[in-house]
Symmetry: C2
Subunit: 331 residues, 2 copies
């Protein structure tokens, strides 16, 4: 029994957004079907201010795969001190039928891809079919990943973008226009950015309202990515009052997703459904052309499991990676 | 930055019980000194009855090391179906100052060694100095590991052993006499085994009383290894009434250690101390020659951290292991 080892560059060569979108759909369906075991994650706060290592595990019973993702972040001195990124990741993938360690892969790229894919899954499931205009609030790495993913599931005519940093906004415009050939129109404000949008994606680190209820057009689909911890917030809770609220995980979103604020304020009594329930056909998604839909994404370990399993499958098919026999006599 | 990879056989060549005893003492001191972060572990129950994978993480702030141990068990069909053990282990060791993955090593041997070492640490800290006779209740792998460890910290004249299986008992006698040259005297009962003992070690999987209070001689030191889950039990709770009760972790032992039963029965109101507090000199260990002392061991992730760090240090010193650069361009 050997364990396959994959570097970051090998993962980069194996990971393809259309496949990840399919893997994340599988993840959402399995989760809402009760075929997933996801214990609370383990988070360690290290001695350097802001530095942490988190461990997230998940069992996908249908696929008989177990993943463990180690993610570090906040090591601000790494680039200058040791020439390493300020955060790194490693994913272990185990066979659920034997417990064997099938693969250890670099995890730097996986989280960004599967989070981007989640947005695209929600667009395909919840946005109006004639949606063409995207507003991007926030201009960092995940904003780029959202565009990379959403363009796989809809025809984007143009992107209105806004971010707090004008340099960040200019860089986003150059990158998106170069990589995807999609026109980016810098906006003067978040309100300006969303004025003509069919899809609004929020990817900031904000802990307060970035998007007001009155600014959105009827029929908009909102992809709320940024809020994934207690206290983090991007949306005016009033947006939730008449919207259809779809979440990745009900348990997570009521506690630390964007929905936490609308629930605490008593604006809504509950979320409507998990996206997995929509994908399984157990509940309706969008109910009318004019309805505002919200996808509240907090991120789940099952997305890591199915995405890592996909990467391993492609590595096996293409013979990519090194092998190491942890139980063998020789290394 | 490369990650060192170590096979089971390489770990076997690097791990030495005297070093592990020192590493576990360091672990206990660091834990009771508040220099350790150990979140609740993540346990996954898989589809095969009894099969599970657990993940235990720990941060040792003093040493700036983070460990993650993946342990599988209960895959009964593995030997016949896929030629693998019914349980396996992998340990990841990270640098707490950068988050870098320093080492991935096979973890099959580590838990047995660090658990054995815990018993020896308690014998050195709590047993009478003139203790010479050991009683071993249970005759499995951990019973062997306890003898391997305890012989490093005391002169064992003889071992009285008892187990439910007479074949297991006979095998234990042969193994211990062959490996360590120590005489093993099979006992007809647990009572018979402990009648002349200075040290009593319990390593069974029992969920009920194996050892009665009236059987123990004054001045005995009891090493209680078996009970590490709710419901598991080896000792008559009455043993606790007049004994000095030292635990590895107060929080763990009151919930799932041997102490849980004596506390629930109201026989004692609290445990006396953690062994780390004794090792730090913050509280006394044994108070008199005649006192019965109990070490209640449930096992802690920090023992994995310090033991894995020791193995890595020796591998670095001796140039053992393969290297893999997860962030590099080539594998």
């Amino acid at each position: 029994m050997t364990t396959r080892l994959l570097t970051k560059e090998q993962v980069r060569g194996l990971i393809r957004m259309p496949d990840v979108i399919a893997a994340v759909e599988d993840a959402f369906r399995a989760f809402s079907d009760g075929a997933v075991e996801q214990p609370p994650y383990m988070g360690l706060h290290l001695s350097q201010p802001g530095a942490e290592i988190d461990f997230k595990a998940c069992y996908h019973a249908g696929a008989e795969r177990v993943s463990l993702k180690a993610s570090s972040g906040g090591f601000r001195d790494n680039p200058s001190r040791v020439g390493l990124p300020n955060g790194m990741g490693t994913v272990l993938l185990f066979d659920g039928l034997s417990g064997a360690l099938l693969c250890a892969m670099d995890g730097s790229l996986l989280t960004g891809f599967r989070t981007g894919a989640a947005g695209a899954v929600s667009v395909r499931a919840l946005a109006r079919e004639d949606a063409r205009v995207v507003a991007m609030i926030g201009t960092g790495n995940q904003a780029r990943m959202q565009i990379r993913a959403i363009r796989e599931v809809m025809q984007i005519d143009r992107i209105h973008a806004w971010g707090r940093s004008s340099a960040g906004l200019a860089g986003f415009k150059v990158d998106i226009e170069t990589e995807f050939g999609l026109p980016v129109i810098p906006a003067d404000s978040a309100q300006d950015a969303v004025a003509e949008a069919d899809i609004v994606v929020t990817t900031t680190r904000a802990s307060g309202v970035v998007l007001r209820a009155g600014w959105l057009r009827p029929g908009t689909h909102v992809v709320a990515i940024g809020a994934d911890q207690k206290g983090k917030q991007e949306l005016d809770p009033e947006i939730f009052r008449h919207a259809r609220i779809i979440v990745d995980s009900r348990a997570q979103c009521v506690e630390k997703g964007e929905a936490q604020h609308a629930l605490r304020a008593g604006i809504v009594a509950d979320v409507h459904a998990e996206i997995g329930e929509v994908l399984l056909g157990r509940t309706a998604g969008r109910q009318s052309r004019d309805e505002i839909t919200i996808f509240d994404s907090t991120g789940m370990a099952i997305q890591d499991t199915t995405t890592a399993a996909l990467i391993l499958q492609r590595a096996q098919d293409r013979g990519i990676g090194a092998h190491f026999d942890f139980l063998g006599q020789e290394s």
